[in-house]
């Protein structure tokens, strides 16, 4: 007996209602103006950008850029597209460019200043605020944040979304355009590297 034969009339009716409901909801969404789209998704997009860049000014710039790009393409977007995922993909791509541009700029600066470290990268003002029982020293925090910045883009983006935003792997996967397994692998790979940094920082602290 196939699974379908096992449905009672009531179940079929519920299923039908659910399908009809989701169709009307889609139609509702189709009618969304672009301003409404912004309002619905701005929190998520800004949250990602702020946690990725750790810099409100850069986050605000990228936020505007994300929605300006989205606006250009909105009319051509299929009506059944997942708006949240689509916007996050744009934001993720912009952070990718952002990293690339910063690295390019950094190389120039490093050449000029013989390896002098860059300003503005670490915003440690908040790092002292201790929400957990473990204390984190300024040096360790600095070392961890610096190595997050050197992670390959997907590892960094996945780590930010998992550890700083608390998103689940299916969501991260759609945002990054990869499989769930890859999303998880990116996070774990990043954590393995960061653990080495942590171990190194701890032993350096003990050595002194």
């Amino acid at each position: 007996m196939s699974g379908r034969d096992n449905f009672t009339n009531l179940q079929l009716w519920c299923l039908y209602k659910a399908m009809a409901m989701s169709a009307t909801q889609r139609q509702e969404e189709e009618r969304l103006s672009f301003t409404e789209v912004i309002t619905l998704h701005q929190q998520r997009v800004y949250g990602y950008l702020l946690r990725f860049t750790r810099n409100p000014h850069d986050a605000q710039d990228l936020f505007q850029e994300t929605f300006l790009r989205a606006h250009r393409a909105y009319a051509a977007l299929p009506a059944d597209a997942d708006l949240r995922a689509w916007l996050m993909r744009i934001a993720v791509n912009l952070t990718k460019n952002y990293v690339r541009d910063r690295q390019r700029r950094a190389r120039v600066l490093v050449d000029e200043e013989k390896g002098h470290n860059l300003d503005g990268v670490l915003d440690l003002e908040d790092a002292g605020r201790d929400t957990e029982s473990t204390m984190i020293s300024r040096e360790t925090a600095r070392a961890l944040l610096a190595s997050i910045e050197t992670l390959p883009f997907h590892q960094r983006a996945a780590l930010v979304q998992r550890q700083f935003e608390g998103l689940d792997y299916p969501t991260i996967a759609t945002n990054l355009g990869c499989s769930q397994e890859s999303a998880r692998a990116h996070v774990y790979q990043a954590l393995r590297k960061l653990r080495l940094v942590l171990e190194h920082a701890d032993s350096a602290a003990k050595g002194v």
Partner: protein, 323 residues
């Protein structure tokens, strides 16, 4: 839950399982397995501890979104940049009606556009709206409007009951004129002078006529019910006075051909006092002091009574009806 690639430790254990446990992502069976293992394996116990530390370090390093000031600032700047760019959606369709082809347009806010179009100008005249709107084919929403309009032209419906989006109205003056016009009831006629006086600008008769010529939602806002003081239809949407005649006929208002063009037969219509709700014969002596704003032409006694108008005591139109 295992990753596709495993990371074997010297003891043979998978490092990813330790990470999963430290993150709290391990299923209970795996979690049990890890906890049993670390009791025996000291290096794995140390590793697990480090991952737990790392997790809490990262937690304390996470940037709090804090208040929404940063987001508000970004949104504010974005809105300013988008202000010139956002074009509302316009659902649009042409209906080949008995009185000619009519294009209907609707936004999220309401009916924004009713225009008479010629078939050879479909594309060019639609392109005109592209700067202000993102055009989309009308669908069921515009089909509903067409249905309403069809009922109206068949005399089955007197009030279209639409909500209007005023965004194509050109000025506050035009809005005022159109709102005053919207007050003129079905099956009655008021003069341009009357509308000019209603909005408190008795000398702006020509401006009123221009405002009505560019009425973005004709038929729904009944600019066809506004005529010249001498009773002539004057014009409609430029050069479409023939349509004005057809629409007035639908509403039961007689239109005749005169030497000066199409006109209503004023001498054969009752005159209503819009404010006090009386109606008179056109030859009534009380009418010489009647302000134009108060004057409405009504085709029949039945229509006057239907609107709640009382017969005048002076000329007694109920006793001496018009022929």
């Amino acid at each position: 839950m295992r990753n596709t690639r495993t990371h074997r430790l010297p003891c043979g254990f998978n490092e990813n399982d330790l990470i999963a446990e430290a993150l709290g992502e391990a299923l209970s069976s795996l979690s049990q397995q890890v906890r049993t293992h670390v009791v025996a394996c000291r290096s794995c116990a140390a590793l697990l501890e480090q991952y737990r530390h790392l997790r809490s370090h990262l937690h304390s390093l996470s940037v709090s979104a804090g208040d929404d000031r940063g987001l508000f600032a970004a949104r504010h700047a974005l809105d300013a940049r988008l202000a010139g760019k956002i074009r509302p959606r316009l659902l649009i369709d042409v209906w080949r009606s008995p009185v000619g082809d009519i294009r209907l347009g609707k936004t999220d806010k309401g009916v924004v556009l009713v225009e008479f179009v010629k078939p050879e100008e479909y594309d060019t005249s639609a392109a005109r709206w592209q700067n202000a709107f993102t055009l989309e084919s009308g669908g069921s929403e515009v089909a509903d409007l067409i249905h309403n309009l069809e009922d109206y032209l068949n005399g089955k419906r007197r009030d279209l009951g639409w909500i209007v989006d005023e965004s194509l109205m050109r000025s506050d003056f035009q809005r005022e004129v159109l709102r005053a016009t919207a007050e003129v009831p079905y099956g009655t006629v008021v003069t341009y002078q009357g509308i000019a006086e209603t909005i408190g600008q008795p000398k702006a008769v020509r401006a009123v006529a221009q405002a009505l010529r560019y009425n973005p939602v004709p038929i729904h806002i009944p600019c066809h019910r506004i005529i010249g003081s001498d009773g002539s239809l004057t014009g409609y949407a430029g050069n479409l006075v023939g349509i004005k005649k057809q629409i007035l006929t639908v509403e039961g208002i007689p239109v005749v051909e005169t030497a000066k063009g199409l006109a209503i037969p004023k001498a054969r219509m009752y005159v209503g006092w819009r404010h006090d709700r009386w109606f008179c014969r056109p030859d009534c002596s009380t009418l010489k002091d009647q302000p134009a704003a108060d004057r409405a032409f009504i085709p029949s006694r039945a229509r006057a009574e239907e609107m709640g108008y009382q017969p005048c005591d002076e000329c007694k139109p109920h006793v001496h009806p018009l022929a």
